[in-house]
């Protein structure tokens, strides 16, 4: 059985800057990392590999430089790393992205080995939509189990699994037949730290690149053209309240006085 983990290369910053003219993320000067939730998805796949001896492939759709992130996946111990990269895939929204990923999974399933599980992070930190994983599941007709924080059972003989889903204020225990698509949360596991021999091996290992010549998708249904979502405006919400009072490092005592003064002025201190 093949387990597919879907990963994305994202800019490493919590302070995303947005170009006000193009409404896109400013990526210059920001290093890229593997989407943090995806590291847990990959770890989940690797743990099942350790336990059941399944094979693990990682898929990523992105520009050629996303190869670096796929190499990290190889250093963690995945068997195959495939980069889906083609100009016609570019500018995709979550719908078009899930079409490309689903097509690649279907190809692996048909030509390499039956896919039992697809595991994705619950969302990416740059898009935050949480739609791609479910999109893949729908397109492939897989069961979808989102927000998984524990894989309780995997029964390869009867082809079913039991997971715990982390919902707001409660957990839900769900059984589903395979194949299934899981999206996972951070609590699921602790991603492994690659050993040096694995890193060195990953440096020369092959990252396969599949373009649309391989997937043969209709260019009208993918990439920018196949994306019904149009972003009209992205902005950082303005902070409308509050102010930063003084400089606590340079003058702690003065700043405290200033702060107390302001609080008393607004009658916020019980005196």
């Amino acid at each position: 059985m093949l387990i597919v983990a879907c990963i994305k290369q994202v800019p490493d910053t919590t302070q995303v800057k947005i170009d006000p003219v193009t409404n896109t993320l400013v990526r210059e000067g920001i290093p890229f990392i593997m989407n943090p939730y995806d590291t847990h998805a990959m770890e989940a796949a690797l743990q099942l590999k350790d336990q059941f001896g399944c094979r693990v492939a990682v898929l990523s759709m992105g520009p050629p430089n996303a190869e670096a992130t796929l190499r990290k996946a190889l250093s963690a111990g995945v068997d195959r790393a495939i980069l889906l990269s083609d100009r016609v895939f570019g500018g995709a929204d979550t719908l078009a992205t899930s079409k490309v990923l689903a097509a690649a999974i279907a190809k692996l399933n048909a030509e390499v080995e039956p896919v039992g599980l697809v595991i994705c992070g619950k969302q990416t930190i740059d898009g935050d939509t949480a739609q791609v994983g479910p999109g893949i599941a729908v397109r492939l007709g897989y069961q979808q189990l989102t927000l998984v924080d524990k894989v309780e059972e995997l029964d390869l003989v009867n082809k079913k699994l039991v997971v715990s889903r982390k919902l707001e204020g409660r957990h839900e225990r769900v059984q589903a037949p395979l194949p299934a698509m899981l999206t996972v949360v951070r609590e699921l596991n602790r991603p492994r730290y690659p050993t040096v021999p694995m890193r060195l091996a990953a440096a020369t290992a092959e990252v396969e690149v599949w373009d649309n010549g391989v997937l043969q998708l209709d260019p009208q249904t993918i990439g920018l053209k196949g994306s019904p979502t149009w972003v009209s405006k992205i902005f950082s919400p303005e902070r409308d309240k509050g102010e930063i009072v003084g400089d606590g490092y340079a003058d702690p005592e003065g700043t405290v006085d200033l702060l107390l003064g302001k609080l008393m002025e607004k009658d916020l201190l019980p005196l």
Partner: protein
Amino acid sequence: MTSTQTIFAPLFIAATALFIWSCWKRLSLTALGRPDNRLDNIGQRIGDTLSYAFAQKRVLAKPSGLIHVAIFWCFLVLMVANTEFILHGLFPAVSFTKLPDGIFMPLMQMIDVVSLITLLAVTAAAIRRLVAPPYPEARTFEAFFILFLIATLMMANFGVNAAKISRMQGSMLEMAKNIMPVSSLFAPYVPPGMGRLVHDLSWWTHALVLLLFMNLLPLSKHFHIITAIPNVFLRRREHPPLPEREEFNAGNSFGISQVDGYTWKELLDSFSCTECGRCQNVCPADQTRKPLNPRGVIAQLKHNLMANGPQLKQGKAATTPLIGEGEASISEEAIWSCTTCGACLQACPVFIEQMPKLIPLRRHLVEMESRFPEELLNLFENMEGRSNPWGIAPTERGKWATQLGERPYEPGKSEYLFYVGCAGSFDARAKQITVATALLLDKAGVSWGMLGKDEKCCGDSLRRLGNEYVFDKLAKENVALFKERGIKKVIVQCPHCLTTLKNDYKQYGIELEVIHHSQLLLYLVQDGRLKLPKQADLGKLVYHDSCYLGRHNGIYDEPREALALATGAEPLEMPRNREDGFCCGAGGGRMWMEEFTGDRINLVRAAEALEQQPDTICTACPYCLTMLDDGMKDLKAEKVQVKDIAEIMAEAVLR
């Protein structure tokens, strides 16, 4: 051939053969180790051997060392006496009596008196071990038995001589009393007519105990009698000890997981340990009841080598794991407990290197097995991804200087690079030290610049924690940047940056002139470039030595002199100061780890500082500052301020 000869000669030959075999069995195992050239600087090595092996400089660091020195020097004399004893037993014609009187008489007097001194010294040693042992587990049967054997040898020697004297008369007797004043005191107790019997009994006791003693040496801690002097001669001469670089090529393995991964000299260390326990008594981990005992590590190494030696000699893999539980393995918790403070290295009288043996084990765990305390995962990822321990965006690095105005290092224009370091750049408290230092540098008109967002962590914690792979990447990037900008002189405020830039980076082909701010501030005052309009009034002030500033880099005096100038009084000293300073608990990457077992090291040190009833504790390291500041909070002594030396200097110069 006398009857004595017919029995003694074969016994002697058998005992000697057994002794040589035992020694060979152990010492030949050192050949399993990797090569290491320890025969450079022969002149200095001879000098070190004279002062540390023969003059026993480090042994004498403790009062009880005097007993050892007495026994050591007496042994050298008695070696001569025992050689004659054995030769005489084998070839009765060989005897001191054949020597001219001018040599014979003083020699006999010396041996006689030295035997008494030895007897007194081993008695003192036994009492000391009984009453005030160096460490509680030191009261072993083996230790007392060896002392008993030495005492027996001395008594037997007196017995032989007293028996002879008891049968003398007239001028012979007078002469004997003169040349054997101690033995002759025992002569009257030899029963009349029993002289021959007492002589033979004493002689055979002496002979048999001597052969037994010889054969116990290689089997016990007393092997050091044979190995300690070479071990001092072969000591590591570089200070501080640097971990070896690793070559990151596919197919290599990293760190040490099997005993033959150590060098032959490191294996010899294991046979040179006297089990004196001085290392454990200064070890912050051992002293706070953690499962790391540097003496134990050396013993475990020896046991592991003995257990695996036969297989390894045949080219087979070791079966007793080097890392693990049991008396022949070093436990993972012990490996992670080390603060790399270097106190054990400083304390060992025979220059055994305990701490440097642990780093390669950490390397194996991190680099080959990816097994390390959970807290380190974030640290490793933050260091690799954002080149600082907290994972703060690198663009924030220069922000501490927002109010001063960023001052980029300009090649050709700036004299010094102010390498701020991660704590000084990101830690709220340590940023105050950075600002104080920068203001003082400006006041003194020092030409300096910073790297701002281009600065990266020096990698100290990574290297001490065994993550050499990421350290290597950071070090290469830093060295390339320093070379590109033509940086030669560097000011640091963190002793960890100091040692890494100054010492570790030499392995990367760069020799930087690195100065710690505590040194530079002193020089600036001494040169009159910093004026002290008033003295800083901080009440009673006690100074805490950072391990990496002190023991690792020998900087003890400058901070103290600077403090004396800034405050008008010599700083107070804690009982453990300078070379004997006690770690704050943050070195060796422990800064980033939880301390679950035993007492907290920082609290022990904080309490020691509080014993001096200070108003202010002065540190010269951002890690020490954090640890002691936390200590003050935990000990409800928040009124005691913990300040960096730059802040204290700033009080005197800028206020």
